[in-house]
Amino acid sequence: MSNTHTIAAGPRTSESFYLKEEHHPENGTMLGFWLYLMSDCLLFAMLFAAYGVLGRNYAAGPSGADLFDLKLVAINTAFLLLSSITYGFAMLSMYSKKLGKTLFWLGVTGIFGLAFLSLEIYEFVHLIHEGAGPQRSAFLTSFFALVGTHGLHVTFGSIWLVTLMFQLKKHGITFENKRRMSCLSMFWHFLDVVWIGVFTFVYLMGTLV
């Protein structure tokens, strides 16, 4: 009995040795989602490049120094940063299998996300009413394209978040829901990373002119 066991275990241990060396992820979803995020990163890189090239072409119109309200941007940044850590708390509550707490922190994250979006929409409406809409100059076109795309991502992230809250409520903390939470976690933190680029490159450096 023990003999056959060791014989059977012989090739298996060498197999596990190889697995340790290469370590194929058992579930490819995380890696796949990461690849999607990287492609999204390229999309933003194009928009950043467009802003970098066109961001000083004002067509005799207003510049960033005239338009940007840095206090508003600082508040927006705070909202997004806070939503990042509250999402982290949601993940931690999920890993300790506390459904109520998970839903609570997801809700808080969603509220911060919505606060971010409403401030951004307020800013856009304000700009357009001042006559600084996307058609005013190449600078504003690239500005609205870049910041608007980011806002669109936050919008869809928020929709996803609400959907996930319903799924969590219905099915509990299952394997699938954990996977979904992890994906949204990557998405949400990635949006925060993009926002770092936006407030540094567009808003802060845009007001230096």
Binding site: N27, M38, L42, A45, G88, K178, H189, L208
Partner: protein, 136 residues
């Protein structure tokens, strides 16, 4: 009977946590409360400094200020990657890092290349011939 034993074994392993390398079911690496709090505090500091530099008009030289802003932004992106996205060179068997590096190469080529080419184009085209403007 052996199954629950198996599970608890994994649980303790996961708690010792080399970022979920052992975990069957926790497929994504996840950080601790400590990670998130450290990341958050660092982010707040790294966000407050550039806003203070610009709004308080601390540095007069715009080139220097721009470089400082970009530098702090880059550091904050790394902080987010490490503490919020839990990137390690080992996550997903190293493929995460490979994809990230490849993307970064493409991003640098795209950004630097576009600006380089377009600004050269701008400087070369800038002195427009006067007669061209007055042409009907």
């Amino acid at each position: 009977m052996s199954n629950p034993n198996h599970n608890t074994g994994h649980e303790t392993h996961a708690h010792h946590g080399d970022h979920g390398d052992h975990g069957h079911h926790d497929d994504a690496p996840h950080g601790s409360l400590y990670d998130y709090v450290v990341g958050f505090v660092l982010s707040v500091i790294l966000t407050a400094i550039p806003f203070w530099l610009v709004m308080g008009k601390v540095i007069d030289d715009k080139t220097v200020l721009s470089l400082v802003l970009l530098g702090i932004g880059a550091v904050q992106i790394v902080v987010h990657m490490v503490y919020f996205l839990h990137m390690t060179p080992k996550s997903e068997g190293g493929w995460n890092m490979m994809a990230l590096l490849f993307t970064l190469v493409l991003v640098v080529i795209t950004m630097a290349g576009s600006m380089w080419v377009m600004f050269h184009l701008n400087t070369n085209m800038m002195p427009m011939p006067v007669n061209m403007n007055s042409m009907p």
